[in-house]
């Protein structure tokens, strides 16, 4: 299996999602706007749930809606992320595996990303993520060296800064959207802010 690249925007939004709901399990979808083949570039993510039970109807609904949006915006769903409420356990739950399987049906190189809650304190040095890929119908740990986060220091700084300034309160996930459908789960406002904070010299964030 090939390399996986995680963009600043995708990482920061996942991070803010986890910060916004520290005592809940949260999950979301990983998207890519690059063409298939070669490295998988996760360029964006859509936060899905935080409080609602991971049952079929809302999950199906979210997957379908995001799918439709992706086809309208030349993106595709390439993975799934989750952070468990119980920070000491970052292994994928049965629900995570099910959703990841579904995604893998449509995209061979799909990835399953678990956020490790125990490593998310402000002084963490390495990205608090554990990634799985599909090998022989099973989800196995991906080689850490095949996971790239360009400009990691900068990404980490942006994530921290936005947390400090309370930007995570503006993050909208699908759950929040269903509670108030005027809220935008594509999080355009946050995307703009992340792009502004990213170094202007860096073209490809």
């Amino acid at each position: 299996m090939g390399e996986v690249e995680l963009s600043c925007r995708a990482y920061v939004k996942m991070y803010l999602h986890a910060c916004l709901f520290p005592r809940c399990s949260i999950n979301g979808l990983l998207l890519s706007s690059s063409s298939a083949g070669g490295a998988v570039c996760v360029t964006d993510c859509v936060p899905l749930l935080h409080s609602h039970l991971p049952l079929a109807p809302i999950t199906q609904l979210a997957l379908t809606q995001v799918d439709v949006w992706c086809s309208q915006t030349q993106q595709r769903i390439v993975g799934y992320y989750q952070a468990n409420a119980c920070v000491s356990d970052s292994s994928p739950t049965p629900c995570a595996l099910k959703i990841a399987d579904k995604i893998a049906e449509q995209f061979d190189s799909a990835v399953l990303l678990m956020l490790d809650g125990s490593k998310m304190s402000p002084d963490y040095r390495v990205p608090p993520i554990v990634m799985y890929e599909r090998k022989d119908s099973r989800w196995t740990l991906k080689d850490k060296h095949m996971i790239m986060l360009r400009q990691w220091e900068e990404t980490r700084a942006i994530a921290g800064q936005m947390m400090e300034s309370g930007d995570h309160m503006q993050l909208v996930d699908f759950d929040t959207h269903l509670d108030d459908i005027t809220k935008d789960w594509t999080n355009q406002k946050l995307n703009t802010k992340i792009a502004e904070l990213a170094s202007p010299a860096n073209g490809n964030i």
């Binding site: 039970l53 049952l55 809606q65 309208q72 005027t182 594509t186």
Partner: protein, 291 residues
């Protein structure tokens, strides 16, 4: 007063075995347990080995039943010495406080346990029974709700077997009974039924999504749920023409309500256009599979 061993001509081993049998069969013959247990502990304690701890627990509970607080306290103190940090022993402390009607202190004990271990169902149950004993039925119901919600969460996030969703549905049935106006429980129940699958469950889920909407017509999850369940039923080859027709009606009603809600929400906000379009297309794409 003659001792138990004298009265019944039994040795200490038989007394110990009797206590074990009563434990295993869950007998609450507290007076007998107190008589046999007290003598066994005081006369033959050193012979019991590690069994003595579970006997202390058994005798303590029985002593509370018989208002023998002196005996209960003795047993409790021995257990505390041996197992200083145990939640199980803390729960016994709480039970003793309950028996003495020192409810506030008992609650503090249980809260301390739950602070360290939110999954401790025994502590939650004790809190509920305290509220009932104090006649605080509203609060008891609230605690019961929390307890059930917690169970549901565990059952759904970590379904341990085929029956986990069924058990979650049962918890939700309880919640709906004690909270009939709560649209969220209705809607969650509908979701569990939908997830369980099969025609019968889908029809139930549709009914409960509809009920949730009656209780709160702005519950978007219920609206989408109604749309999805009705669509699936209408698409099923096993239903009669009438059922198909009815469900297509429900589905198209739900679809129009959804579209309307999104159009209203999208007014004035440029950023919402993507959602509105996404929903429209989604509803269309689902309809194709239906026919």
């Amino acid at each position: 007063m003659a001792s138990v061993s004298e009265m019944y001509d039994v040795g200490w081993e038989e007394m110990r075995d009797k206590l074990r049998k009563w434990r295993e069969d869950n007998f609450r013959n507290s007076e007998q347990i107190v008589d046999v247990g007290e003598e066994l502990i005081s006369e033959h304690g050193s012979k019991l080995g590690d069994d003595i701890w579970i006997i202390y627990e058994q005798v303590m509970i029985a002593a509370l039943d018989c208002s023998r607080d002196d005996l209960a306290l003795t047993c409790l103190q021995e257990l505390r010495k041996q197992f200083p940090d145990s939640h199980r022993v803390k729960r016994l402390s709480g039970m003793r406080l309950e028996a003495l009607e020192r409810y506030d202190e008992a609650n503090k004990h249980y809260d301390a346990i739950l602070q360290e271990d939110p999954t401790n169902t025994a502590a939650r149950k004790r809190k509920i029974s305290i509220l009932k004993a104090q006649g605080k039925s509203t609060e008891a119901i609230r605690e019961l709700n929390e307890y059930l919600e917690h169970c549901i969460n565990l059952l759904i996030v970590f379904p341990c077997d085929f029956h986990s969703y069924g058990k979650a549905a049962f918890c939700l049935e309880e919640l709906m009974m004690t909270n009939p106006h709560n649209h969220l429980y209705c809607e969650q129940y509908a979701e569990v039924k939908y997830t369980q699958g099969g025609l019968e469950n889908l029809e139930l889920s549709r009914k409960y999504f509809a009920q949730a909407l009656r209780l709160n017509n702005r519950n978007m999850r219920a609206l989408f749920g109604l749309y999805m369940s009705a669509s699936h039923i209408a698409a099923s080859p096993k239903v009669s023409a009438k059922v198909k027709k009815d469900n297509m009606k429900y589905a198209s009603w739900a679809a129009s309500q959804i579209n309307r809600a999104y159009k209203l929400a999208g007014r004035g906000t440029k950023e919402n256009k993507c959602s509105v379009k996404a929903v429209e297309e989604m509803l269309e794409s689902m309809q194709i599979t239906m026919s």
